[in-house]
Amino acid sequence: MARSIAIVEDEPLIRANYVEALNRFGYETRGYGSRGEASTAFAMRLPELVIIDIGLGDEPEGGFDLCRELRAKSATLPIIFLTARDSDFDVISGLRLGADDYLSKDTSLHQLAARIAALFRRIESLKVPASSETVIEHGPLRLESERMRVTWNGTEIPLTVTEFWMVHTLVRFPGHVKNRDQLMREAELVVDDATITSHIKRIRKKFVALAPDFDAIETVHGVGYRWTP
């Protein structure tokens, strides 16, 4: 049975394109043009994954409210934010909405599909015990690729898909400097350097919030970042 995806997007052309593309990828996709419409539909039945545009018609931040509603209904429902502006990344992260990923609208459908697949994979893998060969461990860090889970001293760090992939990239070859382009490629992102920097900053913050002495992600100025175990 195909997985159901809901897309809440006020721009009908984009909505249509996404819906068609995702349908082609084999998901059962529904598009909603406004928050009210989506809320009504979700009250009937929750989809398995939701893609929300932040600006919904005349509500510039309607997506956030919708996200809160959904989180109240389900703690595990994967939510992906689509943003028109890169700067919204910072806003969103500040709100700690508990979305699973943030993507800018110029992310290609291919990359979007990769993220959706990853999220579904994670949902699947959480149902079964972790298989050991996909686990990377460095001291206190434990990284489970399938479940996209990162723990530090046994505590889970709540990373988005994008952030997880970045950490994953760094941790796979500790000590190797990964430049921003590499990080971008691995995380299936098309953003500029500043956004990468702010992603890294956010990742550090998430670690530091749980482990105040965390400094494993080192900046190599002018080049990139590396994981120093």
């Binding site: 700067s87 609208k105 190599v220």
Partner: protein, 663 residues
């Protein structure tokens, strides 16, 4: 000339005040003096009349011989040296002789000095005496009168022989001394005061010219104690009264030129008297001869009075800061002039009054000047201060691309400056609004463009799966390429705004700047192609409180900039130099010099020196250096660019970010 100086200059107008006051005080002083003079003249007239009425012993009308009081003993020897103190008032006779008379307690002394170019000598007893050089002396006492012939053939003692018959008490010979010198001769003799002489005559006859027996007979005058007493009865208080003979000889005197005693504090100081004398007083005559106890008061006002006209004059007094008013009034009796009454009134009142008035005026006007000047200065200072505030606000706004950092100053002022401020504020509001519009245009535009871009992109993605014929593939790829480029362009457009936000949110840490610059330089080596990169770094670490990401980003921008202008085999140089308050990072590169016109604007937003981007390149919107400037300013520094030998150098002056307190 600043506003303040101009206003101070205007304040000098208040100087007209003291000048006007000074003129007024002078006028007042003149009036006061006029009044005083008239009063004194009236007193003098009254005194002159009462002297006549009370039948005071007035000096006779006409010429007279005046007998001076001798203070030094006089020896009768024919020499004039013991007469020296009196010789100033010798009375002339004819054209060639001088006569001096003096008295002490017992004797009346006579001294006759004759200048004669030629001499005819004969003794008095000689027959020819009357045709030789001789003197005829006549004396009278009451009704008795006698004449004597006085002549001598040789210097030494001689005897004057009486010419008339015996005359009562008068002697028939007089012992005299006769001396000669190169230019003439002098005779000296004395007579006892007991003779009570009242007339004296003398005739000088050289070589028997004219009437050989004639003598110039005049009444004898001397200082009269009785008249002085009379005067003291009549004279007003505080006035010195003198009676002078028709020849201006002093006949009587009463009263003193003494000012009423004043406390020392009331006495005008030297400054006051100087001010009075130089600023207030009209012409004052000199005290001069008149101050001494002269037997003959030969003053202009006396001379005028002797001609029958009352007159007054002002003199400086002996006491400091005092003036003396003198009034001379002729004494006439039955139409004949019998002398002059001279009243002298010393006064300090007038100068004091005038001084006080002037002083008061000076002090007041000086105070007014000070106050006016002070007020004007305050006003000017405040005006200047307000204008400066206005200017500074305008300049700040200008530096800030027309955005105001808070309310415009003076906006509530009700005066013209307030109007100006309001106009300025409106202007800057308009400019600021326009600037803001321009500033946000790019990010707005990019935001708006994002949606259609996403539509195109997702449509192209879908097109991929729509089973296009093979010949359509290249077009799809091209469309993707174009969209990608559009996307890059849109991102670049919003970059400045995002950078501003990122820079504002940046957090600082204590790091070694050398480490950052070294890391960046290493990273650039791979990007420089064939260009050489030199580094100049200090050996010891440069610890600073900065945001390393921002510094690295600024360096990236500078490097991008430098690489694009450096020829393929050129050089770049990255240097870090510690400064007293931070550090300078300099990135120099070989390349064309900067045009002078661009120097100041280089770090502004949307300014680009590059030619139109070559096809396929990322668009260049001139935001790179703007970001560099923002980073420098975030670190309390600045960015600058200058031409160096064979290239260009861009410098980041950094001071470190302000430390924030840990909440």
């Amino acid at each position: 000339m600043t506003l303040r100086q101009k206003l101070l200059l205007v304040a000098l107008c208040t100087l007209a005040l003291p000048v006007a006051g000074w003129l007024y005080v002078r006028q007042m002083e003149t009036l006061l003096r006029e009044g005083q003079a008239q009063a004194l003249v009236a007193s003098a007239r009254a005194l002159a009349r009462s002297l006549v009425v009370v039948d005071a012993p007035l000096p006779p009308a006409g010429a007279a011989w005046y007998v001076q009081q001798s203070n030094v003993p006089i020896t009768v020897d024919g020499y004039g040296d013991d007469w020296a103190p009196l010789s100033a008032w010798a009375q002339p006779l004819d054209r060639n002789a001088r006569v001096m008379l003096a008295e002490d307690a017992h004797w009346l002394y006579f001294y006759i000095d004759v200048r004669a170019a030629q001499r005819h000598r004969a003794d008095a007893g000689d027959r020819l005496a009357l045709s030789a050089d001789h003197l005829i002396v006549s004396i009278a006492s009451g009704d008795d009168a006698q004449r004597y012939l006085l002549a001598s053939a040789a210097p030494g003692p001689t005897t004057a022989i009486a010419l008339d018959a015996e005359a009562g008490v008068l002697p028939d010979r007089i012992n005299a001394q006769w001396q000669e010198d190169g230019g003439g001769f002098h005779a000296e003799f004395r007579l006892p005061r007991g003779l009570r002489l009242d007339h004296f005559g003398v005739g000088v006859h050289l070589g028997g010219d004219g009437e050989p027996l004639s003598a110039d007979n005049r009444p004898l005058l001397e200082f009269s104690a009785s008249l002085s007493q009379e005067l003291s009865r009549l004279a007003p208080d505080g006035v010195r009264v003198r009676v002078l003979s028709p020849d201006a000889w002093l006949m009587a005197q009463s009263g003193k030129l003494q000012l009423p005693d004043q406390s020392l504090a009331d006495r005008p100081g030297w400054l006051a008297s100087l001010i009075y004398r130089s600023l207030v007083a009209g012409r004052l005559d000199d005290a001069g001869a008149w101050a001494e106890d002269a037997p003959r008061i030969d003053l202009p006002e006396v001379r005028r009075a002797l001609k029958g006209k009352p007159s007054t004059s002002w003199r400086t007094g002996e006491a400091r800061g005092s003036v003396v008013l003198a009034a001379a009034m002729p004494i006439t009796m039955r139409g004949k002039l019998h002398g002059v009454v001279l009243l002298e009134q010393p006064s300090r009142a007038v100068p004091l009054l005038a001084n006080r008035a002037l002083f008061g005026l000076l002090i007041v006007s000086f105070g007014v000047l000070l106050v006016a000047g002070g007020v004007l200065l305050l006003f000017a200072t405040r005006l200047t201060f307000r204008l400066r505030r206005l200017r500074n606000a305008a300049e700040r706004a200008q530096d800030n691309d027309g955005r105001l950092d808070g309310p415009f100053p003076l906006i509530d002022a009700t005066d013209e400056l307030g109007d100006l401020a309001r106009s300025f504020a409106r202007l800057f509001e308009v400019v600021g609004g326009y600037t803001d519009y321009l500033r946000t245009l790019a990010s707005k535009l990019s935001h708006e463009l994002n949606t259609p871009l996403a539509i195109v992109k997702s449509s192209l993605d879908n097109l991929d799966h729509a089973g296009l014929p093979a010949e359509a593939e290249p077009y799809l790829a091209r469309a993707r390429d174009g969209v990608a480029r559009l996307g890059a362009l849109v991102r670049a457009m919003s970059e400045a705004t995002r950078m501003e936000r990122a820079i504002a949110a940046a957090e600082a840490e204590d790091v070694d700047m050398a480490e950052i610059v070294r890391g960046c330089a290493e990273g650039y080596r791979g990007l420089a192609g064939g260009r050489r990169i030199q580094t100049e770094l200090p050996d010891e670490p440069v610890r600073m409180h900065v945001s390393p990401e921002l510094i690295a980003q600024a360096l990236d921008k500078l490097f991008d900039n430098a690489v694009s202008f450096t020829p393929a085999d050129g050089w770049l140089r990255i240097a870090l130099r510690p400064t007293p308050d931070g550090a300078d990072i300099e990135l120099a590169n070989q390349g064309p010099p900067l045009p002078a016109a661009m120097q100041g604007r280089l770090f502004d937003s949307l300014v680009s020196l590059r030619d139109k981007a070559t096809p396929g390149d990322a668009p260049h919107l001139g935001l790179g250096l703007y970001v560099v400037r923002l980073v420098a300013e975030r670190h309390q520094g600045s960015a600058s660019a200058r031409n160096i030998d064979g290239g260009v150098a861009f410098t980041l002056h950094l001071k470190g970010m302000p430390r924030q307190r840990l909440a």
